[in-house]
Amino acid sequence: MISAEQTRPPAWIAEMKAIRDLRDQAAFASLFEYFAPRVKAYLIKSGSAPDMAEEVTQDVMATVWRKAEQFDPARASVSTWVYTIARNRRIDIVRRNRRPEPEDLPWGPEAEPAQDEELALQQDAERLSEALQALPEKQRVLVERAYFGELTHSQIAEETGLPLGTIKSRIRLALDRLRHEMREETG
């Protein structure tokens, strides 16, 4: 039996393909409407001044347009891809060198990724989102801080008044919980 969950198309893939293949400005505008405010919030949380965050957000979204042909739905969800672009831009602003990236995998003989691979990855990404939302508030906030706050373990401790050891074990617990829920969902 096919549930509504499984038949729903993965988020933003159609828009990305329209941008990539047709340079579709309307598709870009709706992608922008969803992602730009989130990217800006991410940059502000990571310590950017609002004016700077606005400028960098526009730059990140322009990069989404420019790199559309590099987007591979068998490797990442659109949210993940946009996140990595925003993260890299944030790092490149404060460093002279670009963020060190792993070398690219050599392309196999089949250039076209299999449709089912693409679907499986997109569904995993959605399950991960759901698992993250299902985490107890305290744990979810810690995962968020580790990614968005640019806080070190000791800074997190200062903010919440918790000793370092507790923080470390809570982040670990949060990730273990996440992994566990992922396994249950897929198993």
């Binding site: 505008a29 922008f32 409407e33 992602f35 730009a36 405010p37 989130r38 990217v39 800006k40 919030a41 991410y42 502000i44 949380k45 609002p50 965050a53 606005e54 957000t57 526009q58 730059d59 322009a62 990069t63 347009w65 420019r66 790199k67 490797r75 990442a76 969800s77 949210s79 993940t80 891809w81 946009v82 996140y83 990595t84 925003a86 993260r87 890299n88 460093r95 002279r96 060198n97 963020r99 060190p100 990236e101 792993p102 070398e103 690219d104 995998l105 050599p106 990404a125 991960l128 989102s129 993250l132 939302q133 995962v143 968020e144 580790a146 990614y147 968005f148 640019e150 670990r172 990730l175």
Partner: protein, 220 residues
């Protein structure tokens, strides 16, 4: 890639790389290891996906009024060829140094400017910003690296040859994490030179007077 990797990146390092919170020195070691290790590449995608899921659930900041129009103006002004050259990930090659490392060295192993640091050991400190340092080490087969402990974590990636210490044997592609309370004495395996990339959170402390003097000179 057919190499057998026994020691992988710890979760905390991989998460820090994906969250973008590591110092540049550690980013370089992580990116170099992932270039050699498909398993950690897959784990990297998982940690990136956590970032994507968090972005989905992020608050929405208010944009300036002409934000979209300004972005379209940016897009029109893009020099496509220049942007492509800047943003294409480095291609895989067959040398000893993985691509992310090669761009710091300015070539493969033969482009490294080694400085002797005593005991037959050579090193090359790479230019990075931030609170951590990173260097290439060349240890001749059979040679022991002086006893040292750290005032911060140290992460070492083996690129060629192998070494052993109390924690086990580390061959090409393997990563060793050493915490600040560990004093260890790695010994390179007899045979070819052992080439490593090591990131250190804070300066190393050698136990013993002579090594401590050497440390001042070596800047490690």
């Amino acid at each position: 890639m057919t190499r057998q990797i026994a020691h992988h990146l710890p979760d905390a390092m991989l998460r820090g790389y994906c969250a973008g919170t590591l110092p540049e020195a550690f980013d370089l070691v992580v990116a170099s290891h992932i270039s050699l290790c498909d398993e950690c590449r897959a784990r990297m995608h998982a940690f990136d996906a956590v970032g994507g899921a968090l972005l989905d659930q992020a608050d929405e900041a208010e944009l300036s009024e002409d934000s979209l129009a300004a972005t379209f103006r940016l897009i029109e002004g893009i020099d496509v060829e220049k942007a492509k050259a800047e943003e294409t990930p480095p291609p895989a090659t067959s040398g000893v140094l993985p691509a992310p490392l090669r761009s710091y060295v300015g070539g493969d192993l033969d482009a490294v400017s080694w400085k002797r640091v005593g005991g037959g050991v050579s090193q090359a400190i790479l230019p990075v910003e931030g609170d951590a340092s990173v260097r290439l080490l060349r240890i001749p087969g059979g040679v022991e690296v002086p006893d040292h402990s750290h005032s911060g974590s140290e992460m070492t990636l083996v690129l060629a040859g192998a070494f052993s210490d109390a924690a086990g044997r580390f061959g090409p592609g393997d990563v060793e994490m050493a915490d600040d309370d560990v004093t260890h004495t790695p010994i390179a395996e007899p045979g070819e030179d052992c080439i490593c990339l090591a990131a250190t959170e804070a300066p190393l402390r050698f136990s013993g007077l002579l090594p401590r003097l050497a440390q001042k000179v070596m800047r490690i």
